[in-house]
Each structure stands twice: as C-alpha cells, then as structure tokens.
C-alpha cells in the first residue's frame, strides 16, 4: 500500500523553496523581495488546497478498490 501524502509537508517544502528563490533573486538585485512575496504568497494556499484535494481523491479511490 502506497504511503499517504502529507499535504502540509508539501506546502511547507514548496513555500521554503519559493521563499528561498525569491530572497536569492532579491539579493542578486533582480527583483524587489517585498513586492514579489506580496504578489505570490497566496499561491501557498492554492498549492495546499490542490494537495488536499488530491489526497482526498486518492484515499477515496483506495477505499473503493479495497471494497
């Protein structure tokens, strides 16, 4: 049986990667950190929601197969 995906783990991972990238680009002088983070932070909620949906469907399918 495949292990269940922890959606909050995915969210935390992607958020850290995104924040790190933006911060690095800001340090390189390629963008304004505050403006970029302010523009893109709601994406965290979108990714989390998508991960939750995927999780729910996966669990439901698994239950139907086991019946």
């Amino acid at each position: 049986m495949a292990p269940r995906i922890r959606s909050e783990g995915i969210v935390a991972g992607f958020s850290l990667i995104g924040l790190g990238l933006l911060w690095m680009l800001s340090n390189l002088g390629w963008l304004d950190l505050l403006t970029s983070v302010r523009r893109w932070w709601p994406l965290v909620l979108v990714v989390w929601g998508a991960a939750e949906l995927l999780n729910t469907w996966t669990v439901r399918n698994r239950r139907e197969v086991s019946k």
């Binding site: 959606s7 909050e8 304004d32 932070w41 709601p42």
Partner: protein, 463 residues
C-alpha cells in the same frame, strides 16, 4: 482537522498578513523606494530627463578627470582649447514638477587642476536628504588627444580619440576607441572593448569579457571570470582564470598564464608561452619558440617555426608542421605528430606515440602504449625508441643508411626490409646494417612486438 494542519494554516495566514501589512506601510508612508527600484544595478520605473550644458576652458592641455556614478560618461573629440560638458539628469520621481525640482538641485562641478580639469557632480549631497533614484550622465566634448582619467560606477564609459586614458568602471562596460598614448583600464562586472591604442595597454578586469583590437604597444591583461578576444596586438601577456583566450595576429611574444583557461592563438610573430589547466590549448602559425604546459586539456600546435616544448598531463598532444626541434613529455596521454622537420624527444605514458613524416634524430620513451614511426625520407639520423607496454612499428624508406638493433624481450620480432644486412638474429634480438651503416637505430620493447618493414618515402611539409 488535525492540530498540525491548523498550525501550518495559522502560520501561512500570519505570514501573508505580515507581508501585506509591510507592503501597505511602504506604499502609504513612504518607507523604502516608491517610484523606482534597482534592478540589475539600474534604476527602473517612471522617470523624467533634464539637461544642463557648460563650457570650460582647457588652457594647459592637462588631464581631464571625471568622477561619476549611476550614469554614463562619454568622451568625444570637440573644439580645441575648451571642454563642453552636457549633464543629463534622469530622475525617477513623479509627477514631473517634483522631478524637475529635484533635478534643479543636481549640479556639475568643474575645477581646474594642474593645467587640466576635474569634473564631477554633487550627486552625493543631492541624494542625501531624499531617497530618490537618479542618474547623472556626462557627455563631454574635449580637444582630441587630451589625456583623460575616468572613475565611474553603474554607468557605461565610452572614450574616443584621447591622448592617454586611465579608466575604471564597475557594473557597466568600458569602450575605448583611439588612444595616442598608454591606456590603463580597470573593470568589474562589465565588458571591456579597446581598439586603436598606440602605446602600452594594461587591463585588470573581473567578471566581464575583454575585446582588444589594434594595440601597437605591449598589452598586459589580468582577467578573472571572463573571455579575452584579441586581434592585431603587440606583445601580449595574459593572466587569466576561468575564461578563454582567443588571440589573432600577435606582433611579438604571447604569454598566457592561465587557470581553468582555454587558449586559441594564431599568427604569433614572436614566442608563444602558455601554462594552463582544465581547458584546451591550440597554437597555430608561431614564428618563435613555443612552450606549453597543460593539465587536463588537449594541446595542439601547428605551423611552428621554432623549438616546441610541450608538457601535458591527463590529455594528449597533437603537433603538425613543426620546423624546430620538438620535446614532448606527456603523462596519461599520447602524442600524434606529423611533419616534424628537426627531430623529436618524446616521453609518454598512457597512450600511443605516432610520428608521421618526420626528419631528424628521434628519442622516444613510451611507458604504456605503442610507437608508430613513419619517416619523411631516407633514415640517416640516430633513433632510440624504448617501449615498456606496447609494440614498435617502423617503416624504412628507400635510401636509408643506419646501424640497426632491435629487441623484444617478451614479444615477437618481425624485420622485413630488403637491403638490410642481418648480422645477428635471435628470438628476441636482431642486429644488422642498412646501406652500409651509419647512425644507430635502436628499437627496444619489453612487452610488445617490433615490426620493421619497408616504407615509401614521403616528403615532409615545412611551415
């Protein structure tokens, strides 16, 4: 809903709220840059341009010095005895009335110094009270042949037809066309282009490419993290790391001291001396002696008139049309050479040694790899070939004259040359003479075969 999830949700929302608050504060209360921002070392955003123009006398014919930042400096030939300066102020502020007011506080400073003139702006004072982005571009017309000195940052420097040039710049390119005397350039994070220098040239650059053209005097280049492209220069000394050198038509000696640097040079009228690592070396049409020391990179040399000395590690050596004597030491690599006119001394390990169409005395010591020898004409010069783990093949052209000795301790001997008078023939050793004898040709291998056969004579091509 699990507590962990709730905690992450609260953290994400708190983070978002903090960012939104910070952004609102910056927008409403002017905390930080408003109408402009810096992107790639340049101001961006809505801007307005204003210009001032001044003319100053230049009586003594002294140096014109310029200090600037965040703006280009352009120097072009103008009228004799005067320096005309146009200050272009680009202010990143809205509306235009506020930008104009701010620009009115930016001035040009011009002060006579030792028969010359020093030009700068009050940009430090102007930007002290208010956090506004602005650029100060200086367009200067000055008498042709005037010595100049420019220090700039974050702005292009362009200089045409001056007497002597001392230029330094960061984060933008430097372009120089026409210098009557010497030129000294320092660049960081920007490309440099230099052409038409009659005197000596000294360049120190980091993180940028350098292009040189038509430099009459000696050029000394120190470059890091950038490529050098040079053509029609005088003697050229390059110290380079993490970049490549491409040189065409060097009138004098070429010397490259490189690390992680590739070298590609053609038409060198003097000597060529190269030491580098981790990239390839190619030298062609060198009139003087050639010395190459390379690690982890291929070495190629062709059409060399002088002596050629190559030391290579971890890659092979290829030589073609070498008029002078050849001395090659190659570790963990082999040698492939053709048209060697004045003999060769070769010490190799790791791969084959192939000498095609050679003349002169030959001395080969091959540790791991065979040796293949095809002379250009009748064999009359001494030859000493030793191999440890590999065979030896020799083609003997008509008209050859030599004493002969061959030994294969743990291999086979196959000597089949019409006209070779055999004096001693044992399982692992053969001696004899050809054409009445002459210099000694000795072929010895430990673990390999020796194969000597008649071969056609092929005239060597000389550079």
């Amino acid at each position: 809903v699990k507590a962990g999830k709730l905690l992450v949700l609260v953290l994400v929302l708190s983070f978002g709220a903090a960012i939104e608050t910070a952004w609102s504060l910056r927008e409403k209360f002017g905390l930080g840059p408003l109408g402009w921002h810096v992107l790639g070392g340049r101001f961006r955003g809505p801007s307005f341009t204003f210009e001032d123009e001044e003319t100053h006398e230049l009586k003594g014919g002294g140096t014109v010095e310029v200090d600037n930042a965040f703006g280009a400096v352009t120097m072009v030939p103008g009228s004799a005895g005067e320096v005309k300066v146009k200050l272009r102020k680009v202010v990143y502020l809205s509306p235009e009335s506020e930008a104009r007011q701010f620009a009115s506080g930016i001035h040009l400073y011009a002060s006579p110094v030792g028969g010359g003139l020093r030009l700068s702006t009050n940009r430090e004072e102007a930007g002290r009270d208010r956090y506004v982005g602005f650029e100060t571009h200086l367009e200067i017309a000055l008498p042709a042949g005037t010595p100049v000195k420019v220090r700039n940052e974050h702005g292009r420097v362009e200089v045409h037809d001056v007497g002597r040039a001392e230029l330094s710049n960061s984060f933008e390119p430097i372009e120089v066309k026409g210098v009557d005397g010497d030129a000294v350039l320092q660049g960081r994070h920007g490309n440099l282009s230099v052409s038409g220098v009659r005197g000596a040239l000294t360049v120190t650059a980091r993180h940028g490419n350098l292009e040189l053209q038509d430099v009459d005097g000696r050029s000394e280049v120190q470059l890091e993290h950038g490529n050098l492209k040079a053509s029609r220069t005088g003697p050229l000394l390059v110290t380079l790391s993490h970049g490549d050198v491409e040189a065409r038509t060097v009138r004098g000696d070429l010397e490259v001291r490189g690390e992680h640097a590739g070298v590609d040079a053609e038409e060198v009228s003097g000597r060529a001396q190269v030491a580098t690592s981790f990239r390839d070396v190619r030298l062609a049409k060198v009139d003087g002696a050639t010395r190459v020391k390379a690690k982890h990179g291929k070495v190629q040399a062709s059409d060399v008139k002088g002596e050629t000395v190559v030391t290579s590690e971890f890659d092979g050596v290829t030589l073609a049309r070498i008029a002078g004597p050849v001395d090659v030491t190659v570790t963990h690599g082999g040698l492939q050479a053709e048209d060697l006119a004045a003999g060769a001394r070769v010490k190799s390990s790791g791969d084959e040694v192939i000498l095609d169409r050679f003349s002169g005395a030959i001395d080969v010591d091959a540790q791991r790899g065979g040796v293949d020898l095809r002379p250009a004409g009748a064999l009359t010069q001494p030859m000493e070939v030793k191999a440890v783990h590999g065979g030896i093949r020799l083609a003997v052209p008509d008209g050859s004259r030599f004493q002969f000795e061959a030994a294969a301790r743990h291999g086979e001997l196959d000597v089949n040359v019409p006209g070779l008078a055999v004096m001693l023939s044992e399982r692992s050793r053969v001696t004899g003479s050809m054409g009445g004898g002459g210099n000694l040709v000795r072929l010895t291998t430990e673990h390999g075969d020796v194969n000597v056969s008649a071969g056609a004579s092929v005239a060597a091509k000389t550079p």
